[in-house]
Amino acid sequence: MLLVDDLRVAYGKILAVEEVSLEVDERELVAVIGANGAGKTSLLSALMGLVEPRGGTISFRERDITRFPSWWRVRLGLALVPEGGRIFPDLSVEKNLLLGAFVVRSRRGLVENLELVFSLFPVLKERLNQRAGTLSGGERQMLAIGRSLMASPKLLLVDEVSMGLMPKLIPEILGTFRKLRGERGMSVLLAEQNAREALQVVDRGYVLKNGRVVLAGTAVELRENDEVKTAYLGL
């Protein structure tokens, strides 16, 4: 479904992503784990079209989208939950959700997606008319995820969703992605610093270090890997 080949991203002369190749299949949960500054956010930004890659190709559902503007990628079925949520703080929760559904043209699709979001995060329903900037950290993340789901995505890109969350909320939020795969047949690419929690929910993973993929395998393989254990799981 998503095929990334030899992707490179640079800011000026500083390389953030180097020769990264990876893939995500239909109904697959994949993690990209790595420390702060490993290039996870740059990778996801390039996939979403927020930065222009220096080289390589991105293809999504058999289409080369490397040079597509981000709004076009949303129409093809990509959606992003960015680092820190990046909700629209001065707009109401409702408007944030409506903006998420900007590419959804049918009334029915809109209502269905709203119901899905409210079933996952009932608290958003109570906060509909509240300014999004007044939400708590956890609620903002929920809104960011909810907003991305409003577009009926086929592949969800999730950047560092566990950051800033209360520890007990993390498995719950990550668990929703498994639920989404089950109910909606969605695929998810999860960029996570929190390898321990991420490797509990995904099928496969890539380890990113200094912008390069240094290791890839199934979640079980990665959990058992000695290098991963010492560097990312703190065992």
């Binding site: 979403m48 079209g49 927020l50 503007p69 981000s70 709004w71 949303v74 129409r75 959606a79 992003l80 960015p82 990046r86 629209f88 703080p89 001065d90 707009l91 408007k95 409506l98 903006l99 998420g100 900007f102 590419v103 907003r147 991305s148 577009a151």
Partner: protein, 287 residues
């Protein structure tokens, strides 16, 4: 009564300030560019309308419509032809380019139409209001009614349509707006179209009201519109409308006092300095 008569003058002046400042505010809100050339668009609207009344028809409505269309398209052209390519540069770059475009437009008007003032002989059937207390000429009434109409329309577009929602998102986080599926280039182009058409309308209305069109008619307007945008709290449409009206009220009433012997146009800039010193976020903050 003199007070009511002055109020009429202030409303007319405030209408022109508001119409121009709206476009500037919208552009600043989304692109964070100080769009100086916006005042050139105002003049362009007036000249387009002048061409219509001198060559095509004396009908005011046709002149207004074509003036707005020309202004709107010119605004889009400035965005797609120039700003689009320099948006990621440091902010000083688009600012200087914008000043350059404004100067070039002024010179172009001077070359094409000559450095003198043209009369604006449009004809309009519109009522006049005469009461024992004040008089509203047909031109004044036209400006007040049309501005009210435009502001209402703008309110509806901003708050009740998809485009308005897209603009709200763009002004908060342009790249995130794209990432939720808003066709950002289209949204910004439409924003220029509407803001510039309103500036064009202001140009036509002022040309009609003062019965003159000349190349530098946008100069004082350019500076004043900036004052209005700053007073209104950068990027807030509602703030700009209120600030435009307030500025016109202050100018009109101070200017009508017998002991007030200063140039009226200086008031705006004194206000600007005071606001920047004591309330740099504008009079009302972000509305």
């Amino acid at each position: 009564m003199d007070f009511l008569q002055q109020l009429v003058f202030a409303l007319v002046l405030g209408s022109s300030y508001a119409l121009i400042a709206i476009g500037l505010t919208m552009v600043y809100g989304i692109l964070k560019v100080l769009h100086v050339a916006h005042a050139g668009i105002y003049t362009l609207g007036a000249y387009m309308a002048l061409l219509v009344v001198t060559h095509l028809t004396r009908n005011f409505w046709v002149a207004l419509l074509l003036g707005m269309v020309a202004a709107g398209l010119a605004g889009v052209l400035i965005y797609r032809g120039v700003y689009y390519y320099i948006l990621r540069r440091p902010r000083i770059v688009p600012l200087i380019v914008s000043i350059g475009i404004f100067t070039a437009m002024n010179e172009l008007f001077r070359l094409l139409f000559g450095p003198y003032q043209h009369a604006f002989p449009a004809v309009l059937r519109f009522p006049m209001v005469i009461t024992p207390y004040f008089l509203i000429t047909q031109k004044q009434l036209l400006i007040i009614v049309l501005t009210t109409f435009f502001l209402l329309m703008l309110y509806l577009v901003l708050n009740k349509t998809r485009v308005g929602l897209a603009w709200q998102a763009c002004s908060q986080d342009l790249s995130m707006a794209g990432a939720v599926g808003v066709p950002v280039d289209w949204a910004v182009a439409l924003n220029f179209l509407l803001g510039s058409a309103l500036a064009g309308a202001a140009g036509v209305l002022m040309a009609f009201y003062r019965n003159m069109v000349y190349p530098t008619m946008g100069n004082v307007v350019a500076y004043k519109a900036f004052v209005v945008v700053v007073l209104g709290g950068f990027g807030s449409v509602r703030g700009s409308v209120i600030a435009g009206m307030l500025l016109a009220l202050v100018e009109t009433f101070l200017g009508s006092l017998e002991w007030f012997n200063f140039p009226r146009d200086a008031i705006a800039f004194l206000l600007l300095i005071l606001v920047l010193m004591f309330r740099p976020k504008g009079l009302f903050g972000r509305l």
